[in-house]
């Protein structure tokens, strides 16, 4: 159940960000403001191909800042990629990092930063507050509206040897500035748009029902849900609609501010487990799991789930208690189906025999600590099974 002590200590951390058209063109200026002379530009092949990395390079050139491009970043960034990036950083004698891309390049950039400043292996930072030395300045230019890695204290890195995702949580991971420009979102296809959008929705929902939520995180979480529910379908339908993209970006930002402070829950713990073991797309896993976890968690925060149901267009007040629990499941499921996400875990390639291992790994994920209900192994296996 959610804590009832309103006077319990809470912290709310807001990083610096610039939101709006043309924000990415400020990358050079801010890198220069940090007195950087050479930066490692971390991106991935898709973002580079779309031309957004070049746009940022132009900004850096205009600011007379040299750069080394590191684009060997895969979805669900690997520990090995982080270490390779750190080597590239040292080899090029960089002084800071500019990350251009979605959650993967940004998380990788965060990892590269702490590895270079602490000179330890990235896996050594697993857990909360394990980062001793702050990373070099990090300027983020997100090109998706979902991960909110550009404003969060989280970095999720895949330990490829153990086939699991580790969570690194530290206030020092929060980037120095995020340049939120809606323009790069227009190059996302519909699948990536809805997957990242559903990731942002999960951030908002899980932050809202988190046992670490606060009135401040609640404000951001509810606004995030409202914006995403309203704008995501339009953004998926009309990729070039800059206004819709802007609203999804704003929704993702709200969600990021909420979950970076209130943390997440079982959806992300279970999605991390899936991503680590089976290398599945993070947003898609979240989308498939959200309604089932919401149903499981409903009893721990019924009023909050009812509020979410309302934001998704349903009227729970007209329903009985049990029906309300089903309503949140229906509302979320309906929303994802409206976005064209019909997959089940089985469709994603999960085997029934994977569930015990998946559940065990999910239970050890730090996101589980702020889930409104305290599940056990059997609970998690049953949730996975319901999404099968």
């Amino acid at each position: 159940m959610l804590p009832t002590d309103e006077l319990e200590l809470k912290k709310f951390f807001v990083p610096e960000f610039i939101l709006g058209r043309g924000a990415l063109e400020l990358a050079g200026r801010y890198a220069r403001n940090f007195s950087l002379r050479k930066v490692l530009l971390v991106t991935d092949a898709g973002v580079k191909q779309a031309g957004w990395a070049d746009r940022v390079c132009t900004s850096l050139n205009e600011a007379d800042i040299s750069y080394e491009i590191f684009d060997r970043v895969s979805p669900n960034p690997r520990a090995g990629e982080v270490m390779a990036g750190a080597e590239a950083y040292h080899a090029a004698e960089c002084q800071g990092i500019v990350a251009v891309g979605g959650g993967s390049p940004i998380d990788c950039a965060k990892g590269i930063g702490i590895v270079t400043s602490n000179r330890r292996h990235i896996l050594a930072f697993e857990g909360v507050d394990r980062v001793q030395m702050p990373a070099p300045p990090l300027v983020c230019v997100p090109t998706t509206a979902g991960s909110s890695a550009d404003v969060s204290q989280f970095a999720i890195i895949t330990d490829e040897d153990e086939r699991r995702k580790i969570a690194i949580i530290s206030k020092t991971l929060v980037p120095d500035i995020s340049l939120l420009d809606p323009l790069p979102l227009t190059s996302m296809d519909a699948t990536l748009t809805v997957d990242t959008g559903m990731d942002a929705l999960c951030h908002a929902v899980e932050a809202y029902v988190s046992n670490a939520s606060s009135p401040i995180t609640d404000l951001h979480a509810l606004e995030a849900i409202r914006l995403i529910a309203a704008a995501l379908p339009e953004a998926a339908r009309a990729p070039d609609d800059l206004q819709a993209r802007y609203l999804t970006m704003l929704g993702s930002l709200y969600a990021g501010l909420a979950f970076s402070n209130a943390s997440l829950g079982a959806v992300h713990a279970m999605a991390h487990s899936l991503g680590g073991l089976l290398d599945l797309a993070h947003g898609r896993c979240n989308a498939v799991l959200l309604e089932h976890v919401a149903g499981y968690n409903y009893a721990a925060a019924p009023d909050r789930f009812d509020a979410i149901t309302r934001l998704l267009g349903q009227q729970p007040e007209e329903l009985s208690g049990n029906e309300r629990q089903a309503a949140i499941t229906r509302a979320v499921a309906g929303f994802r189906r409206s976005l064209g996400i019909d997959a089940s875990l089985a469709d994603l390639g999960v085997e029934p025999g994977d569930l015990p291992a998946l559940a065990e790994r999910a239970l050890s994920d730090p996101c589980m600590a702020t889930n409104p209900r305290r599940p056990n192994q059997k609970d998690i296996e049953e949730i996975y099974a319901s999404a099968f």
Binding site: V128, M133, S263, D365, R374
Partner: protein
């Protein structure tokens, strides 16, 4: 995450830390690290300030002093502020100023990136401090500087002068001087030694053990052992020239040790005593001849006196007018022989006197 034995308790702890209430849950700030680095720099600065070397940081492009350690301005009698933003070359004595100006002018030439030079630094009072300056270009980011480290060599120059005097003394000595390492192989020989032993250079004798240069009888074979055992030796013997010829020498040897008493090398001083030895031999032979002559006189006296007694006895028994003359002449001859005997006794006193003055006379 690592597996936990009590998930409920661990989740509570995790939750508090995720909220941001942990000891180390702080905003990304470089200030603590900055403080740490500043403290580190201050410690390093203190080390630089305490070193005896004067260290100057110079703008490579303008040649102006950007920084200097405490030793620099204290040794030269300036205040710190006096030196800043002044041309470094103004501190250099005129004789070497051009060298430094050229060095800065050739700053982009890699072959000139580090050099050492002896120069004079001008102190505030106008005196000149002899220094050895090592200067090199360094790059901090995009800034290029020169770092000059100046070491006061006043003491070193004095020591070098003393060493030069000692070397000159060794070189000009009329005694042969040979210095060997602790293994007994020559490392230095002065010109007198080379001439005495007929070698052209030190190189020609460096692979010969010192025992080969001396023939001191049975003692010569273990010359080194004797020297090591006693720490010093002195005596006479024979030196062996490069052509194998032997000559008389007086030799003294000693072990040279450092302050800790450890042996550093051996030193031998040789004097050619061939002429002295020849004079001694002549003197010895002359005395021997003198001794033999005196003995011959004594024998001659006995040989005369005995027949003379017979002559005197026979003359006293006969009555002859010549008897008186015979006896008179016999007494005269006896007187001469007595004078000879007295002279022999006196010659013994002379010999004893000479023996005291010239011991070699009896050898």
């Amino acid at each position: 995450m690592h597996r936990r034995s009590d998930p409920e308790q661990d989740w509570d702890t995790l939750r508090r830390r995720i909220i941001g209430l942990g000891e180390r849950s702080i905003h990304k700030s470089y200030y603590p690290e900055l403080q740490s680095r500043l403290a580190e720099l201050e410690r390093f600065r203190a080390i630089l300030d305490q070193t005896n070397d004067a260290i100057f940081l110079i703008d490579a492009w303008t040649g102006l002093l950007v920084d200097a350690n405490e030793s620099a301005w204290v040794q030269l009698g300036y205040k710190r502020g006096d030196l800043m933003q002044t041309p470094f070359c103004n501190l250099i004595a005129p004789e070497k100023r051009i060298w430094f100006l050229d060095f800065f002018a050739a700053g982009k030439n890699p072959s000139r990136r580090q050099q050492a030079v002896t120069a004079g630094l001008l102190a505030a009072g106008g005196t000149e401090v002899p220094v050895e300056v090592t200067i090199r270009f360094v790059t901090f980011g995009e800034e290029q500087y020169a770092v000059a480290v100046a070491r006061d060599i006043t003491e070193r120059m004095r020591a070098e002068e003393e060493l030069r005097i000692k070397e000159s003394a060794l070189e000009s000595s009329t005694n042969g001087i040979l210095i060997a390492d602790v293994e007994g192989y020559p490392i230095y020989a002065n010109p007198a030694f080379l001439q005495m032993f007929a070698f052209a250079s030190v190189d020609a004798l460096s692979d010969r053990p010192v025992a080969e240069f001396f023939d001191c009888g049975r003692a010569g074979a273990n010359l080194l052992e004797r020297l090591v055992a006693t720490g010093s030796l002195i005596g006479e013997g024979l030196g062996r020239r490069s052509d194998g010829l032997l000559f008389n020498i007086q030799i003294s040897g000693s072990i040279v040790r450092n302050d800790a008493g450890d042996p550093l090398c051996m030193m031998f001083i040789c004097m050619d005593i061939t002429e002295r030895k020849a004079a001694e031999r002549i003197q010895r032979e002359a005395y021997e001849q003198l001794r033999r002559n005196i003995e011959q006189f004594a024998i001659l006296g006995d040989h005369i006196r005995n027949p003379l007694q017979v002559i005197v006895g026979l003359a006293e028994m006969i009555e002859d007018p010549l008897t008186a003359t015979i006896l008179s002449q016999s007494r005269r001859i006896d007187g001469i022989i007595t004078e000879l005997d007295r002279g022999w006794v006196e010659s013994e006193s002379v010999r004893r006197y000479l023996k005291r003055r010239e011991p070699v006379a009896e050898e």
